[in-house]
């Protein structure tokens, strides 16, 4: 009698476990699906240096790229308030022309390391829709040497 009760509860327990497992699998599959389509459908971009970009210009033509490099001194053309900003970034060996129409981050300047992101068409300046600045040297600034 008691044995029968035990088996009944344990089979039901098993059934619940199976259903819970099923729900967990559904959630995991949904997350997997979201991750996959998220990666395919949204603007995932190739993160490259300037030379890498030029080396594989063919394969990334027409795709979103994210390029890191230093702003070349003297290359910034700000124009009037209405014009987009133009500048070049370099990784030491090659240079890339950038056009950007948004608000520049506060810490954008010549010589700073920036990461620009946008659509790449080979042979054209990159139309950036985001410019990130990185400035290790400044957040960990050394004190100004006594001038004079």
């Amino acid at each position: 009698m008691s044995g029968a009760v035990v088996t009944r509860t344990s089979t039901r327990g098993l059934r619940v476990d199976v259903r819970l497992f099923g729900i967990a699998v559904v959630i995991a599959a949904a997350v997997g699906y979201l991750l996959y389509t998220g990666l395919q459908g949204t603007a995932a971009s190739y993160f490259v240096t300037v030379s890498e970009l030029q080396a594989k210009a063919e394969s990334v033509d027409g795709r979103r790229v994210r390029v890191g490099g230093d702003v070349v001194a003297g290359s910034i053309v700000r124009g009037g308030p209405a014009d987009p900003i133009r500048f070049r970034i370099s990784d030491g060996s090659s240079e890339l022309e950038v056009v950007y129409a948004g608000v520049l981050p506060d810490i954008f300047a010549e010589g700073r390391h920036v990461i620009v992101e946008g659509l790449y068409r080979s042979g054209q300046p990159i139309q950036a829709d985001s410019v990130l600045t990185q400035c290790p040297s400044r957040f960990e600034a050394m004190p100004t040497a006594p001038t004079s």
Partner: protein, 661 residues
């Protein structure tokens, strides 16, 4: 001061190692004196770290530029509160602060639990001190805040302008306390695993300490969002930046823990899972602290890249190996006392909640570290941006909100579905009406669905409050306000939790609106000219130059009209700080008109006053900050001291109530 500080740190390091060894030896050989001495070592370590920190603050206040750290982050013309806040403005100081919070909270936990959990405490102490030892090792060997400069400069470089903001006073200390605070529950968890005392007696302590760290981290995140909104001119409060994501991760896993620990307390289930969450939370805190300094991910939080990354990576590996190893070793002792009996029970509901929260954490982790892994496997670094996160986390969040609506109505063991439907009918109908109105009025299906779900969840939560209040009014003959007060005081865990749910729902109102209905336009205007955005007209009045002790300021004045009616004037600034003239730091002009934030960024300008302004209209963002206030109230309720254990109290009040009736 430098000698005092570094001396205190070295002494603290020695004591921490001693205390660790003493605790372990004392516990193995059963020598109470050794254990006592181990605890005293922890108190002394906390004291010495505090001394070091105070020495550093004094060095800042006295402008002691012999210290490289002080000279690099402060200057004589900075206001005093930023000079003091500058002590956590860099890596060394923030790590020192981390160490202080970890050792200080650890010492407090030892003191508060000194009469209970006797067998756990030595191991808890040893775990705590091993974390502190690691941090002190980094602080004394690799990156000491007390390093001296060969030549003392006459003035310091000053704090980076981006950090000179009221947000600096609150965001970093809260966030770092949150990270560091997870050390204490982690230490308790490891102690439980080492001793094999895996019953529920340690759960109360762990839950409370996790709650503390979770609250601090949550507040840190919120104030960080507020800061970003005011200072970084992209019109938003959350950019899915790697550093933000990494701070969100331990918050998500600890939120999961705070829910699933209830199941373990009530039903003795999910033990392995809870310990794994605890371990993951602490590991993610360490990961978040370390990876921003490793230079492995590109972020707006441009920390200095330093060698410290390797230390943290090794420590992280050690934590994971020891933690997972112990968990596997103790697996046989961690069997559930009961099984889940039904897929619609409350324990199953908590399980779904946990699955969703960890799935969200996983998705965010995946996206954040994807550049690293894609480089490893496919030889190209692929980065993902905000659209990816919105697309992945958005639907999960929606399901989680739906669960928040149903969860409070589920019963332990088994739920009567008819009763559930009966209870949810009014909130569900309200939600569906709201959704349909939204669909017709705005034709944005996603936003309408999100508002419908938010409305249902809010309805259910408020209904729970109302029922609790009604029950008290009937039984204890209290008026509405007294009943609400007593409900929160006596049943603080349940209704404090619901307050936090309401806070999340209020934030959801703002988050959905600002994602779906944000307007953005760029104007190039001469003084006196105007532009329109949505129902608003902005009139640019011109630029004004001002001067502060440490900066020159350009202010653009903009009048805002809604339709024909004048709504107010905002000023949007650019600050040119001394030493940072090439970094014109923005302060947004934000004007709340009705429920809309009109948000003005001064972009560029010419000498004749012509300027380009970027204007955003962010609807309902104010509800995010209102939700933040409710969040604070809810967590305060959760910490409401319970003078007499609840078990003793319940029968008394019932007796009192019946005799009155």
């Amino acid at each position: 001061m430098a000698h005092l500080g570094s001396g205190a740190l070295i002494l603290a390091l020695i004591l921490a190692i001693y205390g660790m060894v003493a605790s372990l030896l004392g516990a193995r050989r059963r020598v109470p004196e050794l254990l006592q001495s181990g605890y005293r070592a922890t108190y002394a370590v906390a004291f010495l770290v505090a001394v070091a920190l105070i020495a550093l603050v004094i060095a800042f206040v006295r402008h002691d530029f012999r210290l490289a750290y002080v000279a690099g982050r402060s200057s004589r013309d900075m206001p005093l509160h930023y000079v003091i806040a500058a002590f956590y403005g860099g890596q060394e100081g923030s790590l020192l602060y981390w160490t202080l919070v970890a050792s200080g909270l650890g010492a407090l936990a030892l003191y508060l639990h000194r009469r209970s959990d006797r067998t756990l405490l030595p191991y808890m102490n040893a775990t705590l001190l091993s974390v502190v030892t690691f941090l002190l090792l980094v602080l004394t060997v690799v990156s000491s805040p007390f390093r001296l400069l060969p030549v003392t400069p006459p003035d310091g470089a000053g704090l980076n302008p981006l950090l000179r903001d009221p947000g600096m006073m609150a965001h970093p200390p809260l966030l770092l306390s949150g990270y560091a605070g997870f050390t204490v529950p982690f230490a308790f968890g490891m102690a439980a695993l080492i001793t094999g005392r895996l019953g529920s007696d340690w759960l109360r302590a762990i839950r409370r300490w996790t709650l503390l760290a979770w609250t601090l981290l949550g507040l840190g995140l919120l104030i960080g969002a507020w800061w970003a909104y005011h200072v970084l001119g992209w019109g938003g409060y959350w950019g899915w930046d790697p550093v933000e994501n990494l701070a969100l991760l331990p918050w998500l896993t600890s939120t999961a823990f705070l829910h699933s620990v209830i199941v373990q307390e009530r039903r003795g289930m999910l033990k392995v899972w809870n310990l794994a969450l605890l371990l993951a939370t602490f590991a993610l805190s360490i990961f978040g602290t370390f990876i921003v300094r490793s230079g492995m991910l590109s972020s707006v939080h441009a920390f200095a890249v330093s060698s410290i990354g390797h230390w943290f990576l090794s420590f992280l590996a050690l934590v994971l190996v020891v933690g997972i190893g112990l968990l596997v070793y103790r697996l046989p002792g961690l069997q559930s006392e009961r099984q889940i009996e039904s897929v619609s029970s409350r324990e199953a509901g908590f399980l779904y909640n946990n699955l969703l929260l960890t799935a969200m954490a996983f998705a965010v982790f995946w996206g954040t570290t994807f550049p690293l892994f894609s480089e490893l496997f496919w030889d190209t670094r692929i980065t993902v941006g905000p659209p990816f996160y919105n697309r992945v986390v958005g639907p999960l969040l929606l399901v989680l909100l739906l669960l928040m609506a149903i969860g409070p109505l589920l019963a332990w063991r088994r739920t009567d579905v008819r009763l559930l439907l009966h209870n949810v009918r009014w909130p569900a109908m309200t939600g569906i009406v709201v959704g349909l109105i939204g669909l017709v009025a705005f034709s944005r299906p996603w936003a309408a669905a999100a508002y419908a779900v938010t409305m249902i969840a809010a309805g259910v939560t408020l209904q729970e409050f109302w029922r609790g209040i009604q029950a008290r009014r009937r039984n204890a003959r209290e008026n509405v306000f007294l009943a609400a007060w007593e409900l929160l005081r006596r049943n603080n865990r349940r209704y404090g939790g619901y307050l936090v749910h309401l806070a999340i729902l209020l934030m959801a109102v703002g988050i959905i609106a600002s994602n779906a209905f944000q307007l953005e336009r760029q104007f190039v205007l001469r003084p006196g000219e105007q532009g329109t955005i949505g129902p608003y007209t902005v009139v640019y009045r011109g630029l004004e130059d001002r001067r502060m002790a440490d900066a020159e300021i350009v202010a653009a004045q903009v009048d805002i009209y809604r339709g024909q009616r004048y709504a107010g004037t905002v000023e949007s600034f650019r600050f040119f700080y001394r030493n940072y003239e090439d970094q014109p730091t923005a302060r947004m002009g934000i004007k709340l008109v009705g429920m809309d934030d009109v948000y003005v960024v001064l972009d560029r300008w010419q000498d004749d006053g012509m300027a380009s302004l970027r204007v955003y209209v962010n609807p309902l963002v104010i509800w995010i900050w209102i939700g933040g206030v409710v969040f604070v109230l809810g967590t305060l309720t959760l910490f409401w001291p319970q003078p007499v254990p609840a078990l003793l109290r319940v029968p008394q009040s019932v007796v009192g109530a019946t005799s009155e009736a």
